[in-house]
């Protein structure tokens, strides 16, 4: 399973920053934002200038005014936090599709599998925070395996904002209990008992903690440590393509597993088909009686909702499932789906000549790539380069068409050595082909030849000496592609190479 990673972003002065952005004159003035609460007027946010004077949220507005008489007072607009965070969260969707609002002043981003697109976790987090700060929000961020740990480090962490995978326990030890997103009452009780950091009570018996502080503490602790899943209310909820199949009796045979996979696929494909979608990856999870969860996944080259084909892909992996005492629940997820062209069904069996877009071919390639790896299947397209090694490029998809024509004006060998191999030659200077050459201990007398064809290095890509290619035929009628590197020169002995074999 993919390593899950979360980023928590904390806007330290969310409301104050927003007011400053709207009214630039507030930049140099200490101000507070207030809200009436139970007959008193309380400070709910203060800008950093006000905070310098010791004004903190939770104080009475009158007390704050007493400390700094010039303090500006702004009335709070109810629901403003949520509105602001929603806008910021929507902006953050460029970094990950899974963004959740974390009231009152934070965001939680599920960034599993996103960071590498920004060149790693550090640049990724750095980019987000830098951009948010440049927009005028005083943001702090942290990254960890769990939303809870990221939340804690973002607010209370002192050193490294990135908690290495699996290191959340160490990161939490020295933080205060408030880092666990607990109710005020519980924090107060913990502090009263002298638990100033999480380390102090983390090792205590779970039942003791539950009795004293209620289940919330345990839940939050477990969530931060990654022992319990946390559900995030996403801004843009994804309706997952997910199917479940509980079994009355544990399944222990390959046939049973096959039937289960078929059932799940049929349900999933039916839904995909209705939505006009096809899946690119699918994950099957088998929950075993002994508590273990087995997972197998498949991938396809073209989006597909064809049950038979997808089943075949799974079929290859069924032998890797060990049912042991039996499997009681199967689930099937399609984390990656794409739209499919509607003519898929029509194309099915009509013509007998396979084109590159044929689904029979795509299915074959899926099957192959699921077993031997995607990278071992290649297709080549011509490229506008003279240098032979660069005259072809690997096509990115089955649908990609050549953008230029295949050049056939000059002869090119059928087989090309991956790197040219040095040969010994006897040659008349300056421009004659060799009289003979020796390759792998065998002497080849050259009877006929064509050339030279000079191929220059493409200086805008790479420096180097040009090659003079000769197309030669030896006394047995075998044809080769030889070249001499660079110009003739008195002090250097020229290097000759064999580069290919002609048909």
């Amino acid at each position: 399973m993919m390593q899950r990673r979360f980023v928590s972003i904390w806007f330290r002065h969310l409301l104050a920053d927003w007011f400053t952005l709207r009214r630039p004159e507030l930049k140099t003035v200490p101000f507070i934002i207030v809200e009436p609460s139970g007959g008193r007027i309380l400070v709910i946010a203060a800008n950093h200038l006000a905070e310098k004077h010791g004004i903190n949220p939770g104080m009475a507005a009158a007390d704050a005014k007493a400390i700094v008489p010039s303090l500006m007072v702004i009335d709070h607009l109810p629901g403003q936090n949520a509105k602001l965070l929603k806008a910021l969260g929507e902006w953050c969707i460029r970094y990950t599709p899974l963004v959740a609002i974390d009231l009152p002043e934070g965001l939680i981003l599920d960034i599993s599998g996103c960071a590498h697109l920004w060149g790693g976790e550090r640049p990724y987090l750095g980019t987000i925070i830098r951009v948010l700060r440049s927009k005028g929000y005083d943001a702090r961020g942290a990254m960890a395996d769990t939303a809870g740990a990221a939340w804690a480090v973002a607010r209370f962490g002192q050193k490294n904002p990135i908690v290495e995978p699996g290191k959340q326990t160490e990161a939490l030890l020295s933080l205060p209990p408030a880092a666990l997103r607990l109710d005020e009452l519980i924090i107060e009780r913990l502090t009263k008992l002298g638990f100033y950091n999480i380390q102090a009570f983390m090792g205590m018996g779970r039942s003791v903690l539950r009795r004293r502080f209620g289940p919330e503490l345990l839940l939050r602790l477990n969530q931060a440590l990654g022992m319990e899943d946390e559900h995030l209310e996403l801004l843009e909820p994804v309706i997952p393509y997910h199917e479940r199949l509980p079994c009355l009796e544990p399944i222990r045979t390959a046939t049973g597993i096959e039937i289960a996979i078929r059932e799940l696929l049929e349900a999933l494909c039916h839904r995909l088909q209705k939505d006009g979608m096809g899946l690119r990856t699918a994950i099957l999870k088998c929950y075993r009686v002994d508590g273990q969860v087995l997972e197998i996944s498949i991938g396809t080259g073209l989006a597909s909702h064809h049950t038979g084909h997808l089943f075949k892909l799974f079929e290859l992996k069924i032998p890797t499932i060990e049912p042991r005492l039996g499997i009681e629940l199967f689930t099937l997820d399609a984390p990656k789906v794409e739209e499919v062209e509607p003519e898929q069904e029509a194309l099915w069996t009509v013509d007998d000549d396979c084109s590159l877009e044929d689904h029979r071919l795509a299915e074959l390639l899926d099957k192959l790539s699921n077993k031997i790896g995607v990278n071992s299947i290649k297709r080549y397209l011509p490229q506008e380069h003279h240098w032979p090694e660069r005259s072809i490029k690997i096509a990115v998809s089955l649908k990609e068409k050549p953008t230029t024509v295949w050049r056939a004006a000059q002869p090119r060998p059928s087989l090309m050595l991956p790197r040219p191999e040095p040969i010994e030659v006897m040659v008349k200077t300056p421009d004659y082909p060799p009289k003979f050459f020796i390759y792998k201990g065998e002497k080849h007398d050259i009877i006929k030849s064509d050339g030279p064809e000079r191929i220059e290095h493409e200086w805008w890509i790479e420096d180097g000496e040009h090659r003079d290619y000769y197309y030669v035929e030896d006394n047995k009628g075998q044809r080769y592609w030889l070249f001499r590197l660079g110009h003739y020169d008195n002090d250097k002995s020229r290097q000759w190479f064999l580069h290919g074999f002609f048909a």
């Binding site: 007998d352 044929d358 011509p382 059928s414 048909a503």
Partner: protein, 243 residues
Amino acid sequence: MQATRQDTINKLRKDILLWEGFKPPALDALGSFGLGSIEGAFPNGVFPVGAIHEMLCPTPEHLAASTGFMAGVVSALASKGGVCLWISRYHRLFPPSLMFFNMPPHHIIFVDVNREKDILWVMEEALKCEGLTAVIAELQTITFAQSRRLQLAVERSKVTGFILHNNPQKAGASTCVARWQVTSLSSEIEGGLPGIGFPRWQVELLKVRNGKPGNWTVSWDGNGFNIAEEEPDIIQLPGRKAG
């Protein structure tokens, strides 16, 4: 009386061919390969498609020559823009060269695998895929049982397979329909002009099921084969039996 007996024998021969899976050719497939007299060596006088051909390539030079000859054949098969699969361990084919043999290189999918066993698996799967024009595999050896599996796959799908044997010393009995060896011959150029002419090969049909082995000189002029027939009796098959 004599004539009727001959007729009966001919009829029986045709029946045997049918039972062995050689169908009389469909009319539209006739003569489309441009292989001229070579086609006469095959049962019913038709180059067998939907079958597996073996080519012996002991040296890279042989491999290059076989590639050229085969590309010419496959280009006739794929005249309508079909797709081929090329499976090998050491990918050495230079795709642009196929243009000379009328085969668009971007219609070939290369599968590079690390193990012999995987080549066979990929080939079998590919041969089952109806609609592919040809499946070409570079192999060290193949056992009889393995070749039987491939044969069963093509019988259903009618895909044509080519096996390029890199180690023909070990090439034993197999179910392949034909065993070829293509050797380079010096090219001919008119009027003794300098340079190199069109590729020319010695094409030996060493074994062919229910056909007559033979030996031809073939050249490719960029559009089709030119075949010069030699005396049919001169083939020598050292240590190998035809059939």
